[in-house]
Symmetry: C2
Subunit: 582 residues, 2 copies
């Protein structure tokens, strides 16, 4: 190796040793005949010192010619520092340099390689290899590696076997849009990149692999948002001979293991909430349960008092923002503006303050007596100092809007601490969801999800009410994983496809291989997949998955560093039997 | 879980226990009022027993209705077997079944689910999910998983960090043909799937990641052979601040770790052989060193004795097939036919037998005296019973042909035992290789490979003689891995592209991002990549990588199970801004 130690390694006990280090120039200080350089590598920083009259003259001259980010190899003696720096693990020592070799000079970087950089997003994406030098970004990828390792440790220990499934597969119309790959050897035909290894992992269960996992790249050609990437990583898992209960227990153990090993955080048993309750009490299938502030429905209390907004509403529902009674007019106006934003879409906000003396003052005092308001207060378990915030309208829309308001209030009241983790299971998802536009049902999870046997009788009468053996793991309002018990019976799978509007031929064409497999002895099975990028960002305390991906793409799906995608040669198009449209 | 134990778990100490098992019917025997079923899962086989008059009548009726591969759940008591089967770990016990549930019936499989199956290749590919049920195939994937785990253990222990690099990258003309992916959001542009993460891992070194690895899918759109797949898996590694020596030591340690942990085989230090010696003594850059039989060059001994074939030849070279002097005329004719095959291309084979009395009898006695032949014998260290096999012709072609003959003789003499492992490093590869057809140099490894500094003076005079800091790991005649120290200097990298016939603009267009990165402080670095599929097949004792891939493609790049690639809808083509060439 070009070094004897790393830049994070030397301590007081190494004093007196001759060492060789290699790394990057982080910082230079030249003062009163002394020159100090902080040398950086992945493992830390070590201070180098040069002194006029002591350091060999040529070494000193060379040292004074250095710039930030030069790559050096230095040899010298470890000495105890005069002024120690207790913020650096190596802060008690420095290297008195006797020899210096410039391994590579560096141009001035386009932004500062510091924890807080002056580089904008675009610049940092273009020079991602420099951004990756910054300690916070490097630590994100180290966290990701640790999470990957602990994931494998947990699953390997339980006899899960990691099996690689193919990347070049078959395009199917169900779900999101596929990326496709023209085949040179099969003119006019295309592979697709997998949106998930769903059918393959089910086939592995049919094959008897019993417990499968894979940390695997998946692909979706969707319009991008900040937290979406065209390629993303899943922890993909499947088990045979299990019930939903077994999967929940196994992967509850998984997330507790991860928190314990990676964050040193002990997590209690995961609560379970039905989809119906999540909608009713949080207005969301991924409730942030770091704070309570559950929805309180007021229909029974507020109707027929002459307030038309409430009288006409399908649902009147509110939250108790504890301790926010002191909110000013301006703050309340802000909240009203917030719920009126087009993407939230409420028409207005009713509020009621609980005063110190227990009296309640609302924005609709015109319609409700103080006795009425006391009844409201009881419904909310309100105490002096509380602020009740109430919305009204159609059930689904109002719940969604109140969910947004609840999260906003949680934020404002400091209830959404990034270092608090509140995981739970949301269970009993509906099997189907109605698509107004297409006038047909979609699979809420995917077409392989098993309905609850006791709900099967609803197939003809109320298919929308059939519940599935499907479950999501939610942490702090983020869906980190989801899965289901699968169908393992050909007839039921055919029924499912029919329900989803597939013709017999389409179903056979796309998924015949799976339905055939079910006829050769398919065991009951189910599984789950975790969004690994999102799980990493959650563990790291960030909202953006990009910070946890080494080389992410921008919102147009471009890698601006390597400049991809790009045009290709006509000869290449010819070989692939395609032309550009145009 | 639907079971209390697996089918591989029960032993004598479990006798008396009530257990529930789940699995597949492997075998049924119905005889004299008794019925036995072997129930199979991933973990093993357990014998179930049913007895007329004792087993509940309905259970017995149901049991008699079962067929092979039905999926069952049974409950019963563990009893000691009367006739024990010491070939099965569970062979001392059986389950006296009291309850039976058919979880799924099964159609008769198209081939036998046994260690030796009657299914042909095509049928087994189509029903891969059934082929994967067979124990030898399952064990292959279990081996793969173990190798993956031990790879990670070794590298994690040395502070390597696994970083995922992108799958949607940029197409480059160098190397093999790319698979490409049309971009919907960037009309007329394409991503490419990576042939390796080469440039990304180098950028990670520029970023200071120091030690990187990834077990990663790579893609090449090449015509396929038995041991090639369009998608394959690499163990991809890179280190900064290292010399070639450091890489060789690190990955020599890796392969020894793998052999030790996975095969229980201790491997000595790896010998190193120069590319030149490998050519001279084995006629191959991937010599099978499980056996000696090194080439002996005879030019000095055989010329000017009137034998025109030898006189005209650039090279006369042979091997000593020890103990094969008893080969019959017929066997020798076979060998002659072997070397004359078009793909080998020798014009003939000269042989010489060493008799028991030490005399030597050759096929060219007409031209050489017995004293001449004794000189040959000395050159070969020949002993009574040896057979000398000699080829003559152009140097490269003759070496290649003799390599084939050497391997054939190794095979015939039983010297290529699949359970013997002989790894070595081949080093000092040429930097460039001349392409007759294109009349230009190609990079032998890739354009990022560093020349040996002491050979740089040959750039203008004899570029073909420049040696690279490149190395391959070879085991049993198979190249399992290869790598190099990389260029980390912009000027040298530009020179390299010029040497390879890139215009300045092409180089900038394709690899500008990398050369730019070299200007911001790139450390010396190098790495290696192992072909993981091939490594698995080598460890498993098979010649075919397909046996170690869960869902392989056939020689036309088709997955015949899911029927991919396939045609896609016109709407999809439109969205991607392409048309079929028609």
């Amino acid at each position: 190796m070009l070094r004897t130690h790393t830049c994070g390694e030397l301590r007081l006990e190494n004093v007196g040793k001759e060492v060789t280090l290699a790394g990057w120039v982080q910082r230079l200080r030249d003062k009163g005949g002394m020159l100090w350089i902080d040398l950086r590598d992945r493992y830390g920083l070590t201070q180098l010192s040069f002194e006029e009259g002591i350091t060999p003259a040529d070494v000193l001259v060379q040292a004074r010619s250095l710039g930030r980010e030069f790559v050096l190899r230095v040899t010298g003696n470890v000495i105890e520092r005069e002024s120690k720096n207790d913020k650096m693990p190596t802060g008690e020592v420095e290297i008195k340099v006797t020899n210096l070799e410039i391994l590579n000079p560096a141009k001035l970087p386009p932004f500062m390689i510091e924890d807080d950089t002056d580089g904008g997003d675009d610049l940092r994406m273009k020079y991602r290899y420099l951004d990756l030098r910054r300690a916070p970004v490097r630590r994100n990828l180290e966290l990701r590696h640790r999470m990957m390792r602990e994931t494998r440790n947990y699953l390997d220990n339980l006899s899960f076997i990691e099996v690689e499934t193919p990347v070049l597969i078959k395009s199917t119309p169900e779900g999101a849009r596929d990326f496709v790959v023209p085949s040179r050897m099969n003119p006019g035909e295309f592979y697709a990149l997998p949106q998930s290894p769903q059918t393959f992992k089910q086939l592995l269960m049919v094959s008897g692999f019993d417990k499968y996992y894979q940390i695997v790249k998946c692909f979706r050609d969707e319009d991008l948002r900040a937290d979406r990437q065209p390629e993303f990583t899943q922890i993909d898992c499947e088990m045979a001979f299990v019930t939903q209960e077994d999967i929940l227990n196994t992967f509850e153990g998984f997330i507790r293991h991860l928190f314990e090993k990676v964050k040193g955080v002990t997590i209690d048993q995961l609560p379970r909430m039905t989809y119906a309750d999540a909608a009713r009490y949080y207005g969301s299938d991924k409730p942030d349960t770091r704070f309570e502030m559950r929805f309180v429905e007021l229909n029974a209390l507020v109707k027929d008092k002459g307030f038309k907004v409430f009288d006409d509403a399908e649902l009147v529902v509110g939250i108790n923002a504890k301790g926010a009674a002191s909110y000013t007019r301006k703050q309340l106006d802000e909240l009203t503006d917030f719920v009126r934003r087009p993407q939230i879409g409420a028409t207005g906000l009713v509020y009621a303050r609980v005063n110190e003396d227990g009296s309640i003052k609302s924005s609709v005092d015109k319609f409700y007596s103080s006795e009425d308001l006391q009844e409201w207060g009881k419904a909310f378990n309100a105490e002096p100092g509380d602020l009740l915030l109430i919305l009204a309208g159609g059930t689904d829309k109002t719940r969604k809007a109140l969910n947004e308001l609840r999260l906003e209030m949680g934020e404002r009241l400091g209830l959404r601490d990034k270092n608090t983790f509140s995981p739970l299971w949301v269970v009993d998802f509906p099997l189907l969801e109605w698509d107004e536009e297409a006038q047909r049902y979609h699979a809420m999870h995917h077409p392989f999800t098993s309905p609850k046997p006791e709900d099967l009788e609803l197939v003809d009468s109320r298919p929308g009410d059939i519940r599935a053996n499907a479950y999501d793991m939610v942490i702090n309002g983020v869906e980190v994983g989801g899965g289901s018990i699968r169908i393992h019976d050909r007839t039921l799978q055919e029924q499912m496809f029919t329900l989803l509007g597939f013709s017999k031929e389409e179903a056979e064409n796309q998924f015949g291989f799976l339905m055939n497999a079910f006829e050769y002895g398919a065991p009951p099975h189910g599984g789950i997949a975790f969004g690994f990028d999102r799980l990493c960002s959650l563990f790291g305390g960030s909202d953006s998955i990009r910070d946890y991906i080494a080389f992410p793409k921008n919102n147009s799906g471009r890698d601006v560093m390597i400049d991809a995608p790009s045009s290709i040669a006509d000869a290449q198009l010819n070989e692939l039997h395609i032309r550009l449209k145009g």
